[in-house]
């Protein structure tokens, strides 16, 4: 399908951020505000999906910790218990493998949980399904919560093709993103899986289908085997790797995507320090997501990164994020 192969059509010329005005900014207070597909975020740090975002209370706690926005845990049509334990395994200080199995209470219970809750920052609702229709049904029900945006979790099993993920098939990615985009009136982000031979072609399908931003990347397929038990540790045997171990992989993908797609990129994977966040911005991410870092650093990681970013921007004489995003390409 020509639609999906001719993706290297755009060479980005400028980032997609707010135009910053130096006149309004003092050197002591560089402007952290960023804009992703029309969504204005006070700072570029977003809580990643799957981490804590199951209830309004934890999301509020993340807001108080300094995050600019949060993505909820992925919600689907029906309740799922997820996989048995061990479902998460931390490897030293560099990686976390999880096979949660998309536990969620189902869209109706989820809406009840969040109904009437007001947040002081943008909340992005992550959705999953096994077909374009399922994704769209979930998204429509979530509109009752007035979402700031949707994040489409494309790392879900394909209902018709057992074993493969929706996000591995450019055609399915197109159908899912297109269906959701046509069902809602808020920005739609597509979170892509790195477990493909060509991430850019998948991202291109999502953009063609109407994705307003690309979130890169989801976890990498991984396994840990205990040498004494002589068995895989996770109950599901394999899972997805996140944390510092995947950062260089993700940086390369964000860098490549910035060269070839024409929508903002949200970088995610292994951000533990402000230096990691800056690296993503330089690679072309307009915002970044933080998840696994909370294991090692607690919720204070948001304030820590913002403090480092502030210092970096002052030292380098940057007055707003717009000046950093994609600079690594110059």
């Amino acid at each position: 399908m020509g639609l999906f192969i001719n993706y290297r059509c755009k060479k980005k010329t400028k980032p997609f951020l707010l135009t910053c005005s130096r006149a309004n900014i003092t050197d002591m207070h560089p402007n952290f505000q960023t804009k992703v597909a029309g969504l204005v975020i006070d700072n570029p740090l977003i809580l990643a999906s799957g981490i804590l975002g199951m209830t309004s209370s934890t999301i509020r706690r993340v807001a108080n910790a300094g995050a600019g926005a949060a993505v909820t845990k992925s919600v689907g049509i029906k309740a799922r218990d997820g996989y048995s334990n061990p479902s998460v395994y931390v490897i030293d200080s560099y990686g976390l493998i999880n096979a949660m199995g998309l536990p969620n209470p189902g869209i109706d219970e989820f809406v009840k949980e969040f109904e009437g809750q007001i947040f002081n920052f943008p909340v992005i609702y992550s959705i999953f399904g096994s077909s374009p229709d399922e994704y769209s049904k979930v998204a429509k029900k979530l509109l009752a919560l007035k979402p700031s945006a949707f994040e489409i979790n494309l790392s879900c099993p394909h209902v018709k093709e057992v074993g493969s993920l929706i996000g591995q098939d450019p055609e399915m990615v197109y159908k899912v993103v297109n269906k959701v985009k046509n069902s809602v009136n808020v920005p739609v982000f597509a979170k892509i899986t790195p477990n493909v031979s060509d991430v850019t072609s998948i991202a291109f399908s999502a953009v063609k289908a109407g994705a307003d931003a690309i979130v890169a990347i989801n976890t990498l397929k991984a396994m840990a085997i205990d040498i004494d038990a002589m068995k895989p540790i996770l109950a599901n045997k394999s899972g997805g790797l996140s944390g510092p171990a995947i950062k260089p992989v993700s940086i390369k993908m964000v860098y490549d995507l910035f060269e070839s797609i024409d929508v903002p990129i949200v970088g995610v994977g292994g951000i533990l320090s402000w230096k990691d966040a800056v690296e993503y911005l330089l690679a072309g991410a307009s915002a970044v997501q933080i998840g696994s870092a909370i294991v090692w650093k607690g919720l204070e990681v948001f304030e820590e990164i913002l403090a480092g970013l502030r210092k970096y921007m002052i030292e380098k004489n940057f007055s707003c994020l717009d000046e950093i995003v994609g600079r690594g390409h110059k």
Binding site: S57, N85, A229
Partner: protein, 278 residues
């Protein structure tokens, strides 16, 4: 808070440990002893993630720590705990942890209540208090006498004058026929206490919360929730209102924290995260 304690990757790493001794109290309850350098440093009230190798992994209280030898007391209630109860000496289990915020030994006149298998967590706390030459008052409630697993041990300690022990049972087969919380209410009316500790069913804990509040006594209560990650990221064990995570901010909470948690005493969550009434 998720940052109260720095994450320790070494204690978090999975260790396969050989069970060196098993003490059985009944067909459905045993203490499994093993050696582990990290668990032997545990604070009472902290918990472990115990992996029945190749099967499920469940959170378990630490009941014994003595000279490098640690014990978990397991009551067979589900598939995994049944399998753990069938473990014999020489077999292995997977251990991660200790995790969470445990009990802090505060005050001079401690009163503690255990309900059911909650006695496992309280046992280690009693041990530590005795080491500090404190004189705790211990109430242990069980459905029936045979489920008060440390009864003999507490009776012996009582005889030695090291603690005051008040067993209760739902059927009257042991001690007073009442709930542990009723005994606590009675004791609080009779004597002065400056700290209430609790571990057991949430309805009992909620009663303790009420008693402690009304009598102006500080409290530390150990909560139980369905846990997955144990490291404060999956959000499965969230307490609404406060947003506290039982796995990392708890499992032991003080009265102020519990007051902010609207789920306490009312709701738990299923494996899917669905809210269920207690």
């Amino acid at each position: 808070m998720t940052s109260k304690k720095i994450f320790d990757p070494q204690a978090n790493a999975l260790r396969i440990r050989k069970v060196i001794k098993v003490t059985s109290y009944s067909q459905n309850c045993s203490t499994l002893f093993f050696e582990d350098e990290f668990v032997s440093e545990a604070v009472p009230g902290q918990y472990l993630m115990i992996w029945f190798v190749g099967c499920d992994e469940v959170p378990m209280s630490i009941s014994h720590v003595d000279d490098g030898i640690c014990g978990i007391t397991v009551k067979a209630v589900g598939d995994t705990t049944k399998r753990l109860c069938s473990i014999s000496k020489g077999q292995s289990l997977g251990v991660r942890g200790p995790y969470g915020e445990g009990f802090k030994i505060l005050g001079k006149k401690p009163l503690m209540a255990a309900g059911g298998i909650g006695v496992a967590g309280i046992r280690l706390l009693v041990d530590k208090m005795l080491q500090k030459k404190m004189f705790p008052t211990v109430v242990v409630g069980a459905r029936t006498g045979s489920e008060n697993f440390f009864h003999k041990e507490f009776v012996e300690l009582g005889k030695k004058g090291l603690l005051s022990y008040f067993p209760t049972s739902d059927d009257g087969t042991i001690g007073q026929k009442c709930f542990a919380s009723m005994m606590i209410r009675q004791l609080v009316n009779e004597a002065l206490f400056d700290q209430i500790y609790g571990c057991g069913p949430e309805k009992m804990l909620y009663d303790l919360f009420d008693i402690a509040l009304k009598n102006g006594i500080r409290m530390q209560l150990s909560l139980e929730r369905y846990m997955k990650c144990a490291i404060g990221i999956c959000g499965q064990c969230t307490l609404n209102g406060s947003g506290f995570l039982v796995c990392r901010d708890g499992p032991v909470f003080g009265g102020d924290d519990l007051m902010k948690s609207s789920d306490f005493g009312k709701y738990i969550r299923s494996a899917s995260g669905k809210k269920l009434s207690l």
